[in-house]
Symmetry: C2
Subunit: 331 residues, 2 copies
C-alpha cells in the first residue's frame, strides 16, 4: 500500500501549445482504483505502468486556456486522461492515448459529472452489466462494493432495468445507503461474517449475474450461489491490488464447468464504442432524476494521494474527486 | 482417489421391458472423467451424484434384445447413458435422462465410434472450440491433456480449421504422439518444468484460446501468456477431481480484467443442440481419413474400475473404452 511519502508534488515548467495541441487548466480530477495498478512495474497494453519521476495520469476535466488545435477554443470545457497535474498539455488527436473530448454546454450537467455518471465510471457499470455479463430479463444481480462509484451505478442501472439486486459493502452505513438511497432489494456488510452465508441469506434463490469489484472471498461466494449459465463481470479485484504476491483465485472455479458459468474481465476502455449509446441512456436517467450520484470531494492537488489511500481503505461513498482549481461553473 | 475396493460387481435381476421401454445388451461403454465427479455427494443439475448401492452411469452402446417402444426393433444398435452394467433397461422417451439414440447402419463406423469421435466426446472438443472459446481465424490455440480423448480431438479439429496448435501431456511418449500423429505444431510434457516456462517456449507470441482439460498450474500459465481478448474453455480440471478440499484457483485471474479475457465452463450436454451440425462435420472428416482416433480398450465389465483409475493416473492415450460383451460387428 503506497503511503504519502511515495508521492511528490513537483513544480515543472509547462510548455506552450504546439501545432495540434491545447493547454488545459484542470479543475477536477478523478481518483480511480486503476491508478494503483499502474504503479506496478509491468503494465498491460490497456493499463500502461506509470513512470517514476513523471506525473501520474487519470481522468480530468478542465478549461482550455490556449489552443492550436481545430475544434477547440479558449474557454471550452474538455474531458481528458491527464489528471494529477494543474495544467495539461494535450494532443488533440490523442497521439499519447485517448484524445480530449469537448464537454457539451447547456445540458445542465456540471463538467465534473463527466468524471462520473456520464463518463468512464458510468460506462463501466453499464457495459459491465449489458455487454460483459449479458444481462437478461429476470436475472438476479449481485454487486460488490455497491456503495462505490462503479458499484453504486451498477446497482441503480440494474434496478432501473427491472432486476432484483443484492449488494455488499464494508460498513453498516454503506449498507443503509445502498438500501435506502440506491434502492437495492437486499444488502450485507461483508465484515459481518463469511461471505457465503451473508450472500445466501440475501439471495436464497441464487444469482445469475455477479458484478465483481473486489475479487477474493466474495467472488468465491458468488460462484457458489450462481445458477446455471450464470455470468460474472470481473471489473476489479480491489482486495488484491496492494499485495506483493499473487493471491490464490477462487477454490471453486470448477463450478464454472458443472454449471456452465462465464467469467469475463473488462476495462471500460475496451468498450469505448458503447459510449454514445450509454450517454444517451444515462442522460435521460439523470434528467429524469432517476440516478443518485454521490461524490466525495477533496480540495487541492496535494490531497490526491490521501484521496487514493482513503479509496483503498474503503473510506469513500461514491466517486472520489479532487478539485484542483476553482471551477468557474461553481464560482 | 477411489480404489478397486470401492466398487462391487453385483448381480441383480433385470426386469422385462414395459410399455415404452427397451432392453439393451451393452457391448461397449465409455469411461469418462466425469464419473469421478458424480461420486461426490452433491451433484449439480447437469451432473447428478451417483447413489451408493446402485449401478454407475456412463455412455454405452449396445444391441436391442427386447423392445416395447416405437422406433426401436430387436437387433438395432443404440447409444444411451446407462453403461456400467451388462443389460440396460431404457425408457425410449428418456424419462430418466438423455433418451437412447439409434445408431445409423451403413455409415461404416463401428458402434463404439459413437462413444468417441462421433459422440459426446467429439462434441465436447467441437463446441469447446467453436461455441465456448468462440474460435476466430488466426487464433493460436493451446490444448492441455492433448493426448486424451477430448484433447486429442480438440488438437485435430483446431489444426483442420487452420490454427497454430500447442498441446501438453504427461509423458514424452504422449508428446511424440501429439506431434507426430495428431499434427500439433508444438507440444510439451508438463512434468519437465514450470508450466509457464514450457508454454512460453512453445508459444513465444502468446495464445488466444486455451482448451483447459486440467486446471491447476497449466491454467495459471495460460492466463499469463494470453493475448488481449483471449478465451479459455474450461472443460475439466482433472488435476483437482480427487482432492478432498477445494484447490485454490489461478493466482492471476486478475489478468482477465486487464487483458479482457473470458473463462467459460461447459459440459457437452449443455450444447446438445449442436450435435447434428457437429456430426455432419465430423463424419466427413472421418470419411476423408483426416481424424486419428486412438482407443484404449479394456475387456470385461470387471475391468471398468481399473480403467477409471488408469485414466486418472494418466495411463491412457485417447479414449478409454470397456468391452462388456462380444460385439457382433467385430465377431
Amino acid at each position: 500500500m503506497p503511503g504519502e511519502d511515495d508521492f511528490e508534488l513537483a513544480e515543472v515548467p509547462v510548455a506552450a501549445a504546439a501545432d495540434g495541441q491545447l493547454l488545459v487548466r484542470n479543475t477536477w480530477m478523478s481518483v480511480d482504483p486503476s491508478a494503483r495498478l499502474r504503479m506496478q512495474q509491468n503494465g498491460s497494453p490497456y493499463l500502461p505502468a506509470f513512470r517514476l519521476g513523471e506525473a501520474l495520469e487519470g481522468w480530468a476535466v478542465g478549461e482550455v486556456i490556449e489552443s492550436r488545435a481545430l475544434g477547440f477554443a479558449v474557454g471550452d470545457r474538455v474531458l481528458h486522461p491527464l489528471g494529477w497535474r494543474e495544467y495539461a498539455l494535450l494532443d488533440a488527436a490523442g497521439a499519447a492515448g485517448t484524445p480530449p473530448e469537448l464537454i457539451p454546454t447547456g445540458d445542465g450537467a456540471p463538467a465534473r459529472r463527466y468524471l462520473g455518471a456520464l463518463s468512464w465510471v458510468g460506462l463501466t457499470a453499464y457495459v459491465g452489466l449489458f455487454d460483459v455479463a449479458e444481462l437478461r430479463p429476470a436475472d438476479i444481480v449481485f454487486v460488490s462494493a455497491g456503495a462505490g462509484a462503479v458499484g453504486g451505478l451498477a446497482v441503480q442501472i440494474a434496478k432501473l432495468s427491472g432486476h432484483r439486486v443484492i449488494a455488499s459493502a464494508g460498513s453498516g452505513e454503506k449498507v443503509s445507503y445502498i438500501l435506502d438511497v440506491l434502492g437495492a432489494d437486499a444488502a450485507f456488510c461483508y465484515r459481518d461474517g463469511p461471505a457465503i452465508e451473508l450472500l445466501r441469506d440475501c439471495a436464497p434463490e441464487g444469482i445469475d449475474v455477479y458484478f465483481d469489484n473486489v475479487g477474493g472471498e466474495q467472488l468465491e461466494a458468488a460462484l457458489d450461489v450462481m445458477r446455471p449459465r450464470g455470468r460474472v463481470a470481473l471489473c476489479g479485484a480491489i482486495s488484491a491490488y496492494n499485495g506483493e504476491h499473487r493471491v490464490p483465485g477462487p477454490g471453486n472455479l470448477f463450478n464454472a464447468v458443472t454449471m456452465g458459468l462465464t467469467l469475463r474481465g473488462f476495462l471500460a476502455r475496451m468498450y469505448a464504442h458503447r459510449m454514445p449509446a450509454f450517454r444517451d441512456q444515462m442522460r435521460s436517467w439523470v434528467e429524469d432524476g432517476r440516478i443518485v450520484y454521490a461524490e466525495q470531494c477533496y480540495s487541492g492537488l496535494e490531497q490526491a494521494p490521501r484521496a487514493l489511500m482513503d479509496l483503498f481503505a474503503g473510506r469513500n461513498v461514491g466517486k472520489v474527486l479532487v478539485q484542483i482549481a476553482d471551477d468557474p461553473e461553481e464560482g
